[in-house]
C-alpha cells in the first residue's frame, strides 16, 4: 500500500508541476525577474501551501498515518549558516538555469542534452554534500 501511495503521490506531483509551468525554464526565470515580474508561479505556492496547511490540521489530531507507524516530520528548528548559505546557492542555481529538483526530473522527458546535463550535475552535487556530511 505504501508503494502504491508513493506512486500516486509522485504522479499527482508530476502532473501538477507540468500543469503549473514549473518545468518551463522561461516561466521560472520570468518569475524571478523583478523588472518584468511574471507572478503566475507564485500561485503554485499559494495553492500547494493552502492544501497542505489544512492537511497539517488533520495530522496534529492523529497519532499515526494510515499506512505507517508514525509520521516522519522534520524536527530541527536550527537556523544556521548551512541552511542560509545552502539556500542562497540553490537560489542562484535555480535562477541561472530555471529548474529546481522536481521539474529537473520531469525535464528528462524532454530529451534535451542541456537538461540532462543539469540533472546529472545536480545528482553529483547531492552526492558531494552527502559524502562530506
Amino acid at each position: 500500500m505504501n508503494l502504491l501511495m508513493a506512486l500516486i503521490s509522485g504522479s499527482v506531483f508530476g502532473f501538477g508541476l507540468v500543469l503549473s509551468g514549473m518545468t518551463d525554464t522561461n516561466k521560472v526565470i520570468g518569475f524571478l525577474d523583478v523588472q518584468q515580474w511574471d507572478y503566475d508561479l507564485m500561485f503554485v505556492m499559494v495553492g500547494a501551501i493552502a492544501v497542505m496547511f489544512v492537511t497539517y490540521r488533520w495530522v496534529v489530531t492523529h497519532s499515526a498515518p494510515v499506512y505507517a507507524e508514525s509520521f516522519s516530520i522534520p524536527t530541527h528548528t536550527v537556523i544556521d549558516k548551512k541552511l542560509v548559505v545552502g539556500s542562497l546557492l540553490f537560489g542562484i542555481g535555480w535562477a541561472l538555469y530555471g529548474l529546481c529538483p522536481g521539474p529537473s526530473v520531469i525535464s528528462l522527458l524532454y530529451q534535451h542534452t542541456s537538461l540532462a546535463v543539469f540533472f546529472v550535475s545536480m545528482l553529483v552535487g547531492f552526492f558531494v554534500v552527502d559524502r562530506v556530511k
Partner: protein, 137 residues
C-alpha cells in the same frame, strides 16, 4: 485556461500529492531529499522513494499527453551553464536539507521558521541572480 489559473491548479495538485504522502505514508514530499537518498541509501528501505520519482515521470508525461501542454524549450542551451547551475542546486539543496517542495511547500505550511528562512533565502538569491544576469547581458 489562463496560465495563472494553471499555476494555481498545479499548486493545488502539488498540495494534494504532498497530503497523500503525509496522510497515508507519514512522509514529507521533499524532492531533493527523496532524490538524493533514493540514489545513495539502501534500496529496500527506500524503495518508495524510487517509486515516487517514477511517479513524477509518469505524471509529467500524462500532463503533457492528456492536457496537450507543449514541451518547453530550455532557456539556456549551454552545457557549462547547466553544469554550474546543476551543481549549485544539488549542493545548495542538500546543505539546506530541502528545496522548493520540502521547505517552500511542506515547511512553510506547517509554519516552520527554518523553512521560511530557507525559502526567503533562495527566492532572494533567485531575484538577485536574474537581475545580475540581465545587467551583464
Amino acid at each position: 485556461m489562463s496560465s495563472t489559473l494553471n499555476a494555481l491548479l498545479g499548486g493545488v495538485l502539488i498540495g494534494v500529492s504532498a497530503s497523500i504522502l503525509l496522510v497515508f505514508n507519514g512522509r514529507i514530499a521533499g524532492i531533493s531529499g527523496i532524490l538524493a537518498s533514493s540514489l545513495t541509501k539502501e534500496i529496500t528501505q527506500n524503495l518508495w522513494k524510487i517509486v515516487f520519482v517514477m511517479g513524477l515521470l509518469v505524471g509529467g508525461y500524462l500532463a503533457h499527453y492528456v492536457l496537450d501542454v507543449p514541451i518547453p524549450t530550455p532557456t539556456h542551451d549551454g552545457v557549462w551553464l547547466a553544469v554550474v547551475a546543476g551543481l549549485l542546486v544539488g549542493v545548495g539543496t542538500r546543505m539546506a536539507s530541502g528545496c522548493t517542495s520540502g521547505h517552500g511547500v511542506c515547511g512553510i505550511s506547517r509554519l516552520s521558521v527554518r523553512s521560511l528562512v530557507a525559502t526567503l533565502s533562495f527566492m532572494f538569491a533567485g531575484f538577485v541572480t536574474v537581475y545580475v544576469m540581465g545587467a551583464l547581458s
